[in-house]
Symmetry: none
């Protein structure tokens, strides 16, 4: 068992945890198996993490810290709202599509309990929804999105659509490229499914909308 003395131990533990959580599920995952896969002793895990739960939480925080950061940067260079939405969708799908185990942890294991869900929402998702809201608000300002767009609903629909793409991809197990779905999803989001000219806008899209996760 190679035991590099460099302190990538923490990283090795996190990587091992992703695999074990993804394959066994959080509850069925054994700390000792994570340790074995990381090439460390059981007790060593507790030098880096407070508890089994802490591994999951830190895993999430670390991945998120990296990608939310990158996402904001990626948007800087993009001029139009559709381009920005596409970039967001693509990054969302590519990050999770690149590592099925990580995707399983994010789509399944992290939603183990309302407790995790709330944490999940409170930290990263909040930011994500705020970002979507900004982009859409700007889109409304520059005329690329409907003025009457209910952004609360729209941000959730957008996120929900992407989220379901990822979940379907995991469950389906068919191994297609998740990232390529960004364009059709965003196109559908922008254009709608209705035939052009056919949908009379009988009523403005609900005025009094609901707050929700991500809502401020």
């Amino acid at each position: 068992m190679p035991r590099p003395r460099t302190e990538d131990k923490r990283k090795r533990i996190l990587e091992a945890a992703v695999k074990v959580f993804a394959r066994k599920g959080y509850f069925a995952a054994r700390v000792s198996e994570i340790a074995r896969k990381a090439g460390v002793a059981d007790g060593t895990i507790y030098l880096y993490f407070r508890s089994k739960e802490d591994i999951l939480v830190k895993l999430f925080d670390e991945v998120m810290a990296e990608h939310v950061q990158q996402m904001r940067e990626a948007l800087r260079g993009l001029a139009t709202t559709p381009a920005r939405l596409r970039a967001i969708a693509e990054r969302h799908l590519r990050v999770l599509g690149a590592n099925r185990d990580l995707a399983v942890v994010f789509q399944v294991e992290l939603r183990q309990s309302t407790r995790f869900m709330e944490r999940f929402t409170a930290s990263w998702l909040q930011d994500y929804f705020a970002l979507l809201n900004e982009v859409m608000e700007e889109g409304q300002g520059n005329g690329s999105l409907r003025e009457d767009l209910n952004r609360k609903v729209a941000t959730k629909v957008f996120f929900g659509a992407l989220d379901e793409m990822v979940t379907s991809w995991i469950i389906g197990g068919k191994g297609y490229d998740l990232g390529q779905l960004a364009i059709p999803v965003v196109d559908l989001f922008l254009q709608g499914a209705g035939a052009p000219g056919r949908i009379a806008r009988v009523r403005p899209a609900l005025a009094g909308a609901a707050p929700g996760r991500g809502g401020k």
Copy 2:
């Protein structure tokens, strides 16, 4: 100790289970607590269910059997595709919006593990996606939906949007009426978020789409 002979025992156990699963999470839920809440002895549970997991599975199957059935019937009387989509959305949101504990079980506990997820997908979700697909295919036939609509993507977007509405509602904990979101969600799905006339349809919504859960 009263020995109620009525055979609502099974039902009482399921109702108690919904509450306990919703509040504690499936793993942390104790069979003895379900029994206590149902007013039966621990052992009695095992006269009606094979195991703790069986309670969750049966819970799901029973609720689904009822609502998938009702949903198909509800669609019979509806003429237009938008009306049908709205009916589907409304039922989806109202059923879960009417019982927060049940919603938690469906949104959170049932997704505990890929094992449950797969079961979930294989049984009910499959039907649900098939139904959405039919309605959309018909919509394309009668001209109310775009001919170039990628139904694989569209059904997932539609489902994902509703699913996220429910999850947000649970997590947000703000207690608004979930059912009222059906109309804005469906409207957004049909019209799209883009300003009318502004989105040049640069490319047809992706031809070669991905299969996935619900895909046939």
Copy 3:
């Protein structure tokens, strides 16, 4: 399921119990399985027996009551000590050899615990040893057995030999006729294994012998 109203129910329960105890072992035997095999309801068993243990105890008592009785009668007609010992051995081996399940219960299940063993010894075995002692004492009196025979040891050796024949027969599973072993066992007991004339009786067979089960 035929349910003869005659009150052979008790007998049917005992017969079912022999089978179930023999096949599963006393601890693994389920009262409900005995009930099923006997064609009665679980609760009915408790109208005839106080407990699961009571079934085993009564089973033993009933079989014994019958055979100890018969054994004493059978000896009446026999003149010589060797004939009497052969009759005892033959009955012992034939009774158990005729019903493997019963033999299993007597050889294995009834020796589950020192508690059963002590009961077993206190009731029937005591009588059995007393009978053997009588026959041997008489044999010493009429000159057919050695005068210096230590009867305490001899009765145990005789019983132990038969007991081992039965156990071997059960475990071996070869299905030969157990009863036919009576003659060689008794012959060996009487003649000894030593070559005639070769064994110098260096010392009288232990004067101060041990008391033991069956011993008074």
Copy 4:
């Protein structure tokens, strides 16, 4: 809480198990009681043994491994067949007579079920019977045992006699010295109970004998 590092833990657990099994019986014995008596935590037992049953099985194997070995060695120095049979009997009785709890486990607990019995027979008893067979065959060869001796029957009678001595000693609870019974038992086995010169050998000791446990 002292954390004794010495690795006699395994031995302490086995010793505790002998006591608890002997006093309570295998089924009624509680793992937690064995742990308490051994001065270890419940879980520690499972670092050394796979299960409660494994404790019993290992207990048996370990004791046997030691004594079968010693028995063969002890026979090397002995010239005559009677001396060898006496040595076997003495060792058998002394080993079990030295530790009543161990004797209870071997005579009673290990015969809990046909499953244990078969294991018991298949492993050690087989060897024991083979050894007895060898010694007796040799005795026939050197003229110290009858030529017509049915060794199948004789080995079982010999073993059964010793086995019953042990069982009687346990049940009787009178605390005499078990080892001293070796001589009278072996003498009886060799000389027989019949008065010399009185038993006309009417028929040769059964030719077609039964196979059985220990039989090849």
